[in-house]
C-alpha cells in the first residue's frame, strides 16, 4: 500500500506531497531569485527590486575580463572533453573487455579521483606545477580537470560497453572487415550514446570546476568560475547575478538538448 500513490491513504499522501512541494521551492528559489535580481535595478540586490534594468548585463559585456575568462573556459572544456572521451574509451574497453590480474583493484583505482576531496588533488598538483612552472598555463588547467573528468567518462562508456553485444564485432570480422573497420564502423557507432554522454559530462565537469582552477590560475589567466570566485570574495555585485543568469540559461539549454537527444534515440 505504501508504494501505491492512490491507495497510500490521504494523510500520508498529503504529507509527502507537502514535503516535496516545499523541497521543490527550496531547490528552485535560489535559481529564480538570481535570474530576477540580474534584471533588478538595486545595487544591493533588494528583492523585490525597485525597478528593472539591463545595466548589469551591459557592465558584464563591457568588461573584457569576463569574455576572456569565458573563452578560456570554453577552450579548456573542449580539450578536456576530447581527451577524456579518448582516454575514457580506451580505459573502459580494457576494464570491461580485458582480463588480467587485479582488474577490480585497477578499476577502483581509476575511479578514485572521483571520490577524493578535490582540494587535496588541487593542492598536490599546485605544489608540483609550481616547481615545474606550469601554473597559469592551459596545460595545467586541462590536466587538472582531466583527472577529475576521466572517472565519469570511464563509468559512462563502461556502462555502454557492457550493453554492447561484442558478437557484432565477430560478425563483421567474419564478413571480412579489417580490425580498424570493425572498430570504426561497428563498435563506435553503437556506442555513440555513451560516448556522447561522456563528452557532455566531461565538458561540464571542466566548465564548472572551481577548486583546481583557483590554484592553477595566475593573474590574467583564469577561467569563468575563477573569475566569479574572485568577484565573490570582494562583494556580491549584481554583475555576478547577470553572469549567473547567463550560466543558468546555458544549463537549461543543455538539459533541453539532452532531453531532445534522448527522445530522438528512443
Amino acid at each position: 500500500m505504501l508504494l501505491d500513490f492512490d491507495r497510500m491513504g490521504r494523510p500520508l499522501r498529503a504529507t509527502l506531497v507537502g514535503i516535496a512541494t516545499l523541497t521543490s521551492l527550496f531547490l528552485l528559489a535560489p535559481i529564480v531569485f538570481i535570474v530576477a535580481l540580474s534584471f533588478g535595478s538595486s545595487q544591493w540586490l533588494i528583492f523585490p527590486p525597485p525597478g528593472w534594468t539591463l545595466q548589469w548585463y551591459r557592465d558584464l559585456f563591457a568588461d573584457p575580463g569576463w569574455l576572456e575568462a569565458t573563452w578560456a573556459s570554453v577552450r579548456i572544456g573542449l580539450l578536456v572533453m576530447v581527451l577524456s572521451v579518448v582516454l575514457g574509451f580506451l580505459t573502459a574497453l580494457a576494464l570491461v573487455r580485458g582480463s588480467f590480474p587485479g582488474r577490480a583493484a585497477l578499476k577502483a583505482l581509476f575511479l578514485t579521483p572521483m571520490v577524493m576531496p578535490v582540494v587535496v588533488l588541487a593542492v598536490a598538483l599546485y605544489a608540483m606545477f609550481l616547481k615545474l612552472g606550469l601554473t597559469g598555463t592551459l596545460f595545467g588547467f586541462v590536466v587538472g580537470h582531466l583527472v577529475i573528468a576521466l572517472p565519469f567518462s570511464i563509468i559512462t562508456i563502461g556502462n555502454a560497453l557492457e550493453g554492447f553485444d561484442f558478437s557484432l564485432e565477430d560478425a563483421a570480422r567474419i564478413c571480412g572487415a579489417s580490425e580498424w573497420t570493425v572498430k570504426w564502423r561497428v563498435t563506435l557507432p553503437s556506442l555513440r550514446l555513451g560516448l556522447g554522454a561522456a563528452a557532455v559530462f566531461s565538458f561540464l565537469v571542466s566548465w564548472d570546476e572551481v577548486v583546481v582552477s583557483i590554484f592553477m590560475a595566475t593573474p590574467g589567466v583564469e577561467t569563468l568560475p575563477v573569475r566569479i570566485w574572485a568577484a565573490l570574495r570582494q562583494d556580491l555585485s549584481p554583475v555576478i547575478a547577470a553572469a549567473s543568469a547567463l550560466l543558468i540559461g546555458f544549463t537549461l539549454l543543455m538539459m533541453l538538448l539532452a532531453a531532445a537527444l534522448k527522445k530522438r534515440n528512443r
Binding site: 516535496a20 528559489a29 531569485f33 575511479l111 593542492v123 556580491l236
Partner: protein
C-alpha cells in the same frame, strides 16, 4: 523437437571472451600514465612533505591534534557533514519516496527540478544563498516585515549558512540513488504486508525502510564523504572563523605557505574519505552499476 529449441551453439561461444584478452592492459597505458604523473605522484609528494618539512618527524600531526584551533576545525567539519547528512535524509527520503510512486509526468517534473538545481553552476548556487541569507537579504527582510524577528538573524559567515548551502547542494546526491532503489521495489510486497495484518507504521518500519536501506545508506555515505572534503561552499558561506578542513588546507598553502601542516591535514582528510569509500565498495560494490 528438443534439438530445435536448444540454444544455438554460436550464442554460447559469443559470450566467451575473445582471444585478445591479454592486450587489454595496453589500452590502460595512456590513462594510467596520466593518473600516475598527475595524481598519484603529486598526492604522494604532498603527503611525504607532512613528515619532512621543515624537519623530519611527526610534529605536524602533533600540532593538528594538540591545538584547539585545529581541533575545532575538525569538529566543525564532522559536525557540518553529519548535520547535512541527517537533514538530507529527512528531506530526501519523502521526496524520493513520492517520486517513486507518482504518475510518470509528475515524477519527471520533480526529477527535472532536481537535475536543474544539480546542473546549475556550483558558484552560482552558492552566490544565490549568499544573497538570500545576508543581513539585508530576502529571508531576513521578510522575517522582519512579518515581525517574527526584531533584528536580522546572522545567517551567513557561520555554520548555519554553511549547513543550508551544503544541504542544498547535497540533496540530489541522496535523492537520486534512493529513488533508484525505491523505484525497483515491487509494490505488492507492501500489499502483502498489509494483507498479513501489518499496520502502516509496521509496514513502513519493518518492510519499506529495510528494503530501502541499501540506497539510503549508499546515498547518505556519499553525502557525508563529499561534505567532509567540501571547499567552495564552506569557504564562501562560512567565513574564516568557522573553517572546515578543506578550507584549512587551502589556507595553509595559499596564505601561510605551511606545506608540512597542509600535508598532514590532507592525509587526515584523505584517510577518512578513502576509508569510507572502501567501506562503501565492500558493502555496495562499484558505483558503475548503481544509479
Amino acid at each position: 523437437m528438443n534439438a530445435h529449441t536448444a540454444p544455438f551453439p554460436m550464442a554460447a561461444a559469443a559470450h566467451a571472451p575473445p582471444s585478445r584478452s591479454s592486450t587489454g592492459l595496453r589500452w590502460l597505458l595512456p590513462a594510467a600514465t596520466l593518473l600516475l604523473l598527475c595524481f598519484l605522484v603529486p598526492v604522494a609528494m604532498l603527503l611525504v612533505r607532512s613528515v619532512t618539512e621543515p624537519s623530519f618527524g611527526l610534529q605536524h600531526y602533533r600540532e593538528l591534534v594538540g591545538s584547539w584551533t585545529y581541533l575545532r576545525v575538525l569538529g566543525n567539519t564532522f559536525l557540518v557533514a553529519s548535520v547535512v547528512t541527517v537533514v538530507a535524509v529527512v528531506i530526501g527520503f519523502p521526496v524520493a519516496w513520492l517520486m517513486a510512486v507518482l504518475p510518470r509526468g509528475w515524477a519527471q517534473l520533480l526529477m527535472n527540478i532536481l537535475l536543474l538545481s544539480m546542473w546549475t553552476n556550483l558558484l552560482v548556487r552558492t552566490y544565490a544563498w549568499m544573497v538570500l541569507l545576508q543581513r539585508t537579504g530576502f529571508i531576513n527582510q521578510t522575517l522582519l516585515k512579518w515581525g517574527w524577528i526584531d533584528s536580522p538573524l546572522p545567517l551567513v559567515n557561520n555554520l548555519v549558512g554553511v549547513t543550508i548551502g551544503m544541504t542544498y547542494i547535497m540533496l540530489p546526491f541522496l535523492v537520486l540513488p534512493l529513488h533508484g532503489t525505491l523505484k525497483a521495489l515491487d509494490p505488492s510486497i507492501l500489499r502483502a504486508a498489509a494483507v498479513c495484518g501489518a499496520s502502516r507504521w509496521q509496514a513502513f518500519r519493518r518492510v519499506l525502510v529495510p528494503l530501502a536501506a541499501p540506497g539510503l545508506a549508499s546515498g547518505a555515505l556519499m553525502v557525508f564523504v563529499m561534505s567532509l572534503g567540501y571547499f567552495v561552499t564552506p569557504a564562501l558561506l562560512g567565513g574564516t572563523s568557522h573553517m572546515m578542513l578543506a578550507e584549512l588546507i587551502a589556507q595553509l598553502v595559499q596564505s601561510l605557505l605551511n606545506w608540512g601542516l597542509a600535508g598532514a591535514a590532507a592525509l587526515v582528510l584523505l584517510a577518512v574519505t578513502l576509508g569510507l569509500y572502501a567501506l562503501q565498495l565492500r558493502w555496495f560494490g562499484l558505483a558503475s552499476k548503481g544509479r
